[in-house]
Assembly symmetry: C2
Homo-oligomer: 144 residues x 2
DNA sequence: AATAGTTGATAGTAGATAGTATCAACTATC
DNA sequence: GATAGTTGATACTATCTACTATCAACTATT
């Protein structure tokens, strides 16, 4: 396996070490829908370099920008997934994620359409927040 | 003056009464950039029915949805004003609001362009949050 | 097979955040 | 012209939120 930034290689404790936070905080962020680590069949989590970067971004948003977790989730829920993956109109009509206002698509079972068989972890929608670049910049690219 | 919903007619205390909140909370929301009441020349604030509706929405977002004020402001900052008012590319390059990531345009002096001479209170960008309809729905309308 | 790490869950804490109280100077309205 | 309301400012507080500690059962690694 080549060393791409999505390669899940850190256990939860070594990731927590890198980030100087507790293992439990890592799991909290996941429960809240902010991160989506790789899971082995046994259920054990593994984190990639992208995941580390993403969590740094989350921490900055919470600690420096003073936005709470509900706020972050609501912002993530605004990412216009439909315009990023270009799913069809009929896909959208059936899609629970498209209709959701308070949860990002990757927190919702929405596999009855375009996203069938795709890993949310790998999806550009999920990764929009990965590098802490603002979602506004993504909107600027999409909206002329 | 006809009775349109933007007509500023309530003083701060009668508005606070209608909303069952303190006068001071009203001014806090303003300081935080969530509302933009009409001001008389003396500096006295006047609120319209739309303002009342907007504050109801803000309260719901804080108390029920549990999103903090910083979070709300960051969400408002995501409204794609440029695509709503259709300002020119060169306007955008000069516009401080276009570049801002953490404040909505109406909190920023951005009158050196398209918005020159326009009242932010009356602008569709500001009013996007007026009825508590989600900004996601606005994005859906703008993004095919 | 034994140690170290992981899982989910519940209970608890330090500190931040939304909101309040109080103030003197100024304005509206009767 | 007098009362009631408004302005901005600072100091204060109750409550919630992000985070931690501890637990027994399970898994990885040596």
């Amino acid at each position: 396996m080549p060393d791409n930034p999505n390669n899940p290689k850190y256990t939860i404790s070594s990731a927590a070490n890198l980030l100087q936070i507790s293992v439990h905080t890592m799991r909290m962020y996941e429960r809240e829908g902010l991160i989506l680590p790789h899971k082995k069949e046994s259920g054990q989590r593994l984190y990639s370099d992208m995941d580390i970067e993403r969590i740094k971004c989350i921490r900055h948003t919470i600690n420096e920008d003073k936005i709470n977790i509900e706020g972050i989730r609501r912002i993530l829920a605004l990412i216009p997934c439909w315009a990023i993956v270009h799913c069809s109109i009929s896909d959208r009509e059936r899609c629970v994620a498209f209709g959701s206002l308070n949860k990002p698509c990757w927190m919702i079972n929405h596999k009855n359409n375009f996203c069938e068989g795709r890993e949310c972890r790998e999806c550009e929608v999920y990764q929009s927040f990965g590098t802490c670049e603002s979602i506004k910049n993504k909107l600027k690219a999409l909206l002329p």
